[in-house]
Symmetry: C2
Subunit: 174 residues, 2 copies
C-alpha cells in the first residue's frame, strides 16, 4: 500500500502542544496520507493549543470506526490528560495497538497509552516527567529522540519531531 492509500487519526484536545500536532498533520498531508483530526466525545470542536492556536476536530471518537484507520498519532502538551478520559479514544488507540496499526506518541502523550493498557513489555520514550507513569504501566523507558518498538513509535519533545516523523513515514511505507 502506498502512502496515498493510508489514513491516520491525529488526536486533538485543548492545551495540545502546537507543533506536536501540526507538524505531523502537515507532514503526512504533504506525503499524500489522509489525516482526520479526532476529538473526545465530550471534547472541544475547535481545540486550542497551549498558546491558543486553533485545531478543528473532524470527528468525535464515537463517530469513527477504528478499523478505518492505519494508525493514530497522539500529540503532547496537556491534551493527553483529557484524551485519556474518553473510552472511545482509548478504544481507537487499543485497536491500532492490537492490529499492527501505527501507535505514535510524543511528550506527555504516553498517558493515553497507559490508560489504553497497551504498554506492558513495550520499549518507549516520553518527556521525563511521565517516565514513572509509563514504567508503572509496564513499559521499558529509555531516553532517546525516537524509539521504534514494532508498531509503537515514541519521542520526547518538539525538538524530536524530525526524527519522529521520519520513523512514522518509514513505518507507513513498510
Amino acid at each position: 500500500m502506498s502512502l496515498e492509500q493510508k489514513k491516520i487519526a491525529v488526536l486533538a484536545e485543548d492545551k495540545y502542544e502546537n507543533l506536536e500536532a501540526w507538524y505531523p498533520i502537515l507532514r503526512l498531508r504533504e506525503a499524500g496520507v489522509e489525516v482526520d483530526i479526532i476529538g473526545r466525545d465530550a471534547g472541544c470542536e475547535v481545540c486550542k493549543s497551549k498558546e491558543g492556536y486553533p485545531l478543528k476536530v473532524d470527528f468525535k471518537a464515537r463517530e469513527i470506526d477504528p478499523a478505518d484507520y492505519d494508525g493514530v498519532i497522539v500529540p503532547g502538551g496537556y491534551a493527553p490528560d483529557r484524551l485519556r478520559r474518553c473510552q472511545n479514544v482509548l478504544k481507537l488507540v487499543k485497536y491500532q495497538a492490537e492490529n499492527n496499526g501505527l501507535v505514535a506518541a510524543i511528550c506527555h502523550a504516553g498517558w493515553v497509552l497507559a490508560s489504553a493498557n497497551i504498554l506492558k513489555g513495550k520499549t518507549v520514550t516520553s518527556t521525563s516527567a511521565i517516565r514513572d507513569d509509563l514504567v508503572n504501566a509496564g513499559a521499558h523507558w529509555t531516553d532517546e529522540e525516537v524509539v521504534v518498538d514494532g508498531n509503537f513509535i515514541t519521542s520526547r519533545h518538539p525538538g524530536d519531531l524530525p526524527a519522529f516523523m521520519k520513523a512514522i513515514l518509514e513505518f507507513l511505507i513498510s
Copy 2:
C-alpha cells in the same frame, strides 16, 4: 502538640490550581499553623496559577530539612507535573510518608506521590484523569470527597476542599 506548634509545607509550581493552594494555606494560618511555601530547586520564585494568580515561594526544596516539617500538602492543577521532576521535592514527600507526617494531595497532586514511590497498598482518591497512574503505582483508588488512610489524606477537586481541610486539621490535632 497544639496546632500552633505545627509547621506544614505547601508545594508550589506554575499552573497550580488557585484554590487548592490558597484555601489550605489560609485555613492553616487561620488555625495557627506555620506554613512555608516550598518550590522546586529549578522552579518559579513567584509561581502563577493557571489563571496567573501569584504565589511566592519561601524556600526551594534543597534549602529545607524535611524533618523540620509536620507534613506536606500538594495542590493540584498541572503544577504536580513539574514538582515530581525535583528529587528534593520527592525527598520531602517521602520523608513525611515514612515518618507519620501529613501527606495530603488533591486532584492531579497524586502524580507527586507516584514519583515519590510511596503509594503501594495505600487507599487514595484523585481526579479520575490520573486514576490509572495511581493504580499502576500500587494504590487502591476510590471515588470519594476525601480519603484518609493513616497519614495520607487525598481529595478529588476544588469542590472537596472543605472536607479535605477538615480531615487535615483533624489529623494535625490528633
